[in-house]
């Protein structure tokens, strides 16, 4: 375990994240241009999709079936457990509980990628169809949690305005669904999958140096920015309290273990189960925040952003992924 941890800590990905954190802590003016951040994320998602699509063209539907089922299951369970823990134990408001739960029900693409790179480095590559599972897990959790929030507050009915004109309604879930399904990350991932599937190994060849050769380097640069963003939120940890800190580290372990178990049970390899665990454990900070902000404006953004970005994300990158890997290896009867 220690050796695995050391390897993980000395990877360019972890180091770049730590460098970003460190730069914010010493209050350096370093920042990546917003457009570089956006460009890198477009590149990473598209590359992920393409590669996944090419590999998907080798996979049989039978292999994919059970993993897909357990993934969807995770998308329903994890927002509920998160909501219950936050509301009952943490005593957060309905809106805040639902808002945070939406983040933990969804998935962080960068955590996914980091897990994939991690198991590959150790010689346990995950199944080629994992990006397909990623797309399956992205949106259900958000909707389950927002649904809980909406039902609980039962404030969906909105009064007409003073001047008689109808109000711009509280965002109907349908609209939110459209938004999440057509979101940048979805289009790039699912679109990339489809394109990769159609072009196949042969068509992929000429663009491979760009989409595969550069991948890890680009990811390193991206993690630097993630470190900067997480570092900027460190200060908020004080105001968000100890409970959220604990929640942001214990919840991932629970969700991650569940993911590894279900993945193992569904027939995934050690690498695959690890990655599924990391997905379940991760909290979205790209897709979930705007959906929550628009649908549950009463939820406090500081809470969910700090939890997802400054606690759970680094926890998974540094400690979580090696833990899920050990678990997957134990289940598979390894050391």
């Amino acid at each position: 375990m220690l050796e695995v941890l050391r390897i993980n800590l000395c990877s360019p990905i972890s180091l770049a994240f730590v460098l970003g954190l460190f730069a914010r802590i010493i209050r350096s003016e370093l920042s990546l241009p917003r457009e570089l951040y956006a460009s890198l994320s477009i590149y990473l998602l598209l590359a992920l999709g393409l590669k996944g699509g090419v590999e998907l063209s080798h996979a049989s539907m039978a292999e994919l079936a059970w993993p897909a089922v357990v993934t969807l299951l995770l998308g329903v369970i994890t927002p509920c457990t998160a909501y219950l823990v936050l509301r009952r134990i943490g005593r957060f408001s309905i809106a805040d509980s639902a808002g945070i739960a939406a983040h933990y029900g969804s998935v962080s693409a960068v955590t996914f990628i980091a897990a994939q790179q991690f198991v590959q480095t150790l010689g346990f590559p995950a199944e080629g169809f994992m990006p397909t599972l990623l797309t399956l897990l992205e949106s259900p959790g958000i909707h389950v949690a927002l649904g809980i929030g909406a039902v609980q507050t039962a404030r969906l009915a909105s009064q007409p305005r003073a001047d008689g004109s109808p109000p711009v309604e509280r965002r109907p879930l349908k609209e939110v669904l459209h938004e999440v399904l057509t979101a940048r990350s979805m289009i790039l991932l699912v679109g990339g999958l489809a394109c990769g599937f159609v072009m196949g190994e042969k068509g992929y060849e000429p663009v491979k140096p760009f989409f595969e050769g550069m991948f890890k380097g680009a990811l390193t640069l991206f993690l630097l920015e993630m470190g900067l963003a997480a570092g900027a939120r460190l200060g908020d940890l004080k105001s968000t309290g100890l409970f959220l800190l604990a929640f942001g580290m214990i919840m991932p372990i629970l969700h991650g273990s569940l993911g590894v178990f279900l993945g193992h049970w569904a027939g995934l390899s050690i690498g695959g189960a690890t990655v599924l665990g990391a997905m379940a454990a991760s909290a979205s900070y790209i897709a979930a925040p705007p959906a929550v902000r628009m649908t549950l404006p009463e939820a406090n953004p500081t809470l969910y952003l700090t939890a997802a970005l400054a606690i759970t994300f680094p926890f998974n990158i540094v400690l979580g992924i090696p833990i899920y890997f050990q678990l997957a290896r134990m289940l598979a009867g390894g050391s």
Binding site: Y37, A162, V168, I286, P289, P297, T302, L305
Partner: protein, 100 residues
């Protein structure tokens, strides 16, 4: 030149509100608008963070009535939950009918 006095309504707030605010002002009768990206700080700090776009400034030249109506809507539905401010200033335009 012969100019007509109108009102410039400036709304500054979270970039996320972009589409929603455009819908609001168009429904209220604005004939056009201009949007600039900006950043800033105010008395409340509830917003969706740095990875997700900063503030935007939405400006529209409108009649005083439309401006007043919009201030009402903003005050009722946006100020309580979102990081938004708004103010009016007097402007003079030529061909005022383009704006009302």
């Amino acid at each position: 030149m012969h100019t007509v006095p109108l009102t410039l309504l400036t709304i500054i707030g979270e970039g996320l509100l972009r589409e929603r605010l455009i819908t609001e002002i168009e429904r209220a009768g604005a004939k056009g608008y201009t949007i600039t990206e900006c950043s800033g700080s105010g008395s409340r700090h509830r917003r969706v963070g740095e990875l997700l776009g900063e503030n935007m400034k939405l400006e529209c030249v409108v009649s005083p009535e439309v401006a007043d109506k919009l201030l009402g809507i903003l005050s009722d539905e946006y100020f309580p939950h979102f990081a938004v401010i708004a103010y009016l200033s007097p402007v003079s335009v030529i061909r005022g009918d383009k704006y009302v």
